[in-house]
């Protein structure tokens, strides 16, 4: 419970009630973990926070998109139209929900709820204010990528159950796109993990070497086993430790990740499943009212998830330049209030909106691909590119171009001297 920001915030805001709060905290500590987890899941950085943030992100995206086209975009709803996505959602929620007679009503009703749940769960894995998300366990990177595939599956189910001709075409296209783009997405998402693996394999190799030569270890804090590299928390933490976001190490992977992410969230050059001019609205054609509201919200959430994951894997997540000395140190320096959390959140937001800017810019820049070009593009260019970056990294590690190995030997040497 040491790092829970909730109590710090309360104590900071109401110092006069510190006694009461301390007693309350004591009581809560008996049941506290459960409540605190609930708070995290529901309020911050859980459902409420990400929902508001995703609506804000949609507004930001639309605004950037409009400004790049020399327009204004939403303007008259709230300050510069900031409430526009919210108004859309409320309106859709209040609208009549039509299910046409040919459709499977129950499956159709279940699909958007499924999509919504999935996207919220996916966002739980994104680190917002510290290196780990709300849910964090070993190998969660694989789980989160798997969940994103499931999200695409709900799209396919919706198109399927709505028994609309355009829906079917959209579904088929969504499936084809899914098959094509899952592979580069996973490959490029695994590149940071490979870097982490290498970074931590250096001390392990060295330790093994020392063990075989001397029989003892000079510094006991050095990890002796390879820890889980497929964990988002470790990847963000490593970037903080090295003090370098992985976009500098693997720029090609970042590009591939963004492009396949755009295919995953069906944004313009890859919006073939809902291509407006070709197949009306694709899989969404027959969806109306509340279901459409849920789909819109969940696609916003997925957008945010994509941006957040890109930020966590390639841009260092909540860690920023200058803040890599560790949160506890910082907090000790700055007093009781967890400034580190605040700055972490700010860094996270900055990075997410930078990624959204990139995606919005790319949306304005290209014409829609044809479905065969989409699939070809994935297999011909993106997958080889993803492999290429991995190969380059392997070469870099082999020849120790970053100098991690030599640095480590140097540190060991200094330790011996002392």
């Amino acid at each position: 419970m040491a790092f829970d920001p909730f109590w710090y915030i309360l104590l900071y805001l109401f110092p006069q009630y510190s006694g009461t709060l301390t007693i309350l905290q004591y009581i809560l500590q008996q049941q506290g973990n459960v409540l605190m987890d609930l708070f995290k899941i529901i309020v911050f950085p859980g459902i409420v926070f990400v929902s508001i943030l995703s609506l804000f992100a949609e507004w930001y995206d639309r605004k950037i998109y409009a400004r790049l086209q020399n327009r204004v975009g939403p303007f008259h709803t709230g300050y510069h139209g900031i409430l526009q996505p919210l108004a859309d959602i409320i309106k859709l929620l209040a609208k009549e929900d039509i299910v046409q007679s040919g459709a499977e009503a129950r499956s159709l009703a279940a699909a958007p709820i499924f999509a919504m749940t999935l996207s919220l769960v996916m966002l739980m894995f994104i680190p917002v204010y510290r290196s780990a998300g709300i849910i964090s366990f070993e190998g969660d990177l694989i789980v989160v990528l798997f969940l994103s595939t499931l999200f695409a599956l709900t799209v396919i189910l919706t198109g399927w159950f709505s028994t609309n001709r355009f829906g079917e075409v959209g579904t088929a296209r969504a499936g084809m796109q899914l098959i094509a783009y899952e592979i580069p997405l996973v490959l490029s998402a695994l590149t940071p993990a490979i870097i982490v693996a290498y970074y931590y394999s250096v001390p392990v190799q060295v330790n093994n070497y020392l063990l075989t030569v001397y029989g003892t270890l000079p510094v006991t804090t050095i990890p002796t086993t390879l820890f889980s590299i497929l964990t988002i928390a470790n990847i963000t933490q490593t970037q903080a430790t090295i003090g370098m976001p992985f976009i500098l190490v693997a720029p090609i992977s970042f590009g591939v990740f963004i492009i396949s992410l755009m295919a995953e969230i069906e944004k313009v050059p890859f919006d073939v499943p809902e291509a407006h001019t070709e197949i009306v609205a694709g899989w969404q054609t027959e969806i109306s009212g509340k279901k459409l509201a849920l789909y819109r919200l969940s696609s916003d959430l997925e957008y945010l998830w994509g941006a957040g994951l890109a930020a966590a894997l390639f841009l260092g997540g909540p860690w920023g330049p200058g803040w890599d000395i560790g949160l506890s140190t910082l907090d000790r320096l700055m007093g009781a209030f967890p400034w580190g959390y605040v700055f972490g959140t700010i860094w996270f937001l900055v990075k997410v909106f930078a990624v959204i800017f990139i995606i919005a810019n790319l949306r304005t820049l290209f014409a829609r691909f044809r479905i065969d070009q989409v699939v070809q593009g994935a297999w011909k260019y993106l997958i080889p590119l993803a492999f290429l970056n991995i190969l380059i990294l392997q070469a870099v590690f082999y020849f120790d171009l970053f100098g991690w190995q030599s640095t480590y030997y140097m540190l060991l040497w200094i330790a011996y001297m002392i």
């Binding site: 639309r62 409009a66 086209q69 020399n70 327009r71 204004v72 975009g73 939403p74 303007f75 008259h76 709803t77 139209g81 409430l83 526009q84 919210l86 108004a87 859309d88 959602i89 409320i90 309106k91 209040a94 609208k95 009549e96 929900d97 039509i98 407006h276 009306v280 609205a281 969404q284 054609t285 027959e286 969806i287 109306s288 009212g289 459409l292």
Partner: protein, 144 residues
């Protein structure tokens, strides 16, 4: 639940999505409707989006003379829109048949097919006039 009602009304006023249908006229009104969506007037400012499926729409914009062949289709599209829904008749052909009013195959106005909420005269109406009509419709929505 007065507050909730107010919230819903607010959201409806702020986010009218339109579905545009040419009932068989010349293209003049259509290009003016599209022109209203383009950078010069950009009615996305009001939260208006042009959607492709009537299921997503709140406001239906009908342009052009309503030919007898298209009238039943228009009616069915109208029925497919979820409640609450509004119809805008843009241009004189959609209001009364306009210059084609004599031709017997032309229904004299969209209101012969579906109830029309607002009429925007002009041949074609300027994009400003269309926005003015939209604003009037939204003001009416907010009021009642």
């Amino acid at each position: 639940m007065a507050v909730l009602d107010k919230l819903v009304t607010w959201s409806r006023v702020k986010s009218p999505w339109v579905f545009h249908m040419n009932c068989g006229g010349c293209n003049a009104c259509d290009i003016e409707v599209i022109a209203a969506l383009m950078p010069r007037y950009d009615i996305e400012r009001f939260g208006i989006l042009l959607v492709g499926s009537p299921r997503h729409a709140d406001v239906m914009i009908g342009t052009g003379t309503v030919t007898r062949q298209i009238a039943p289709r228009f009616k069915r599209l109208y029925e497919q829109m979820p409640e609450p829904k509004f119809v805008m008749a843009v241009g004189n052909c959609a209001i009364s048949g306009g210059v084609f009013a004599g031709c017997y195959n032309v229904l004299e106005g969209l209101d012969k097919v579906v109830p029309v909420d607002i009429y925007i005269p002009g041949c074609p109406p300027k994009p400003e006039a269309i926005i003015d009509g939209v604003a009037k419709l939204l003001a009416k929505l907010q009021g009642g």
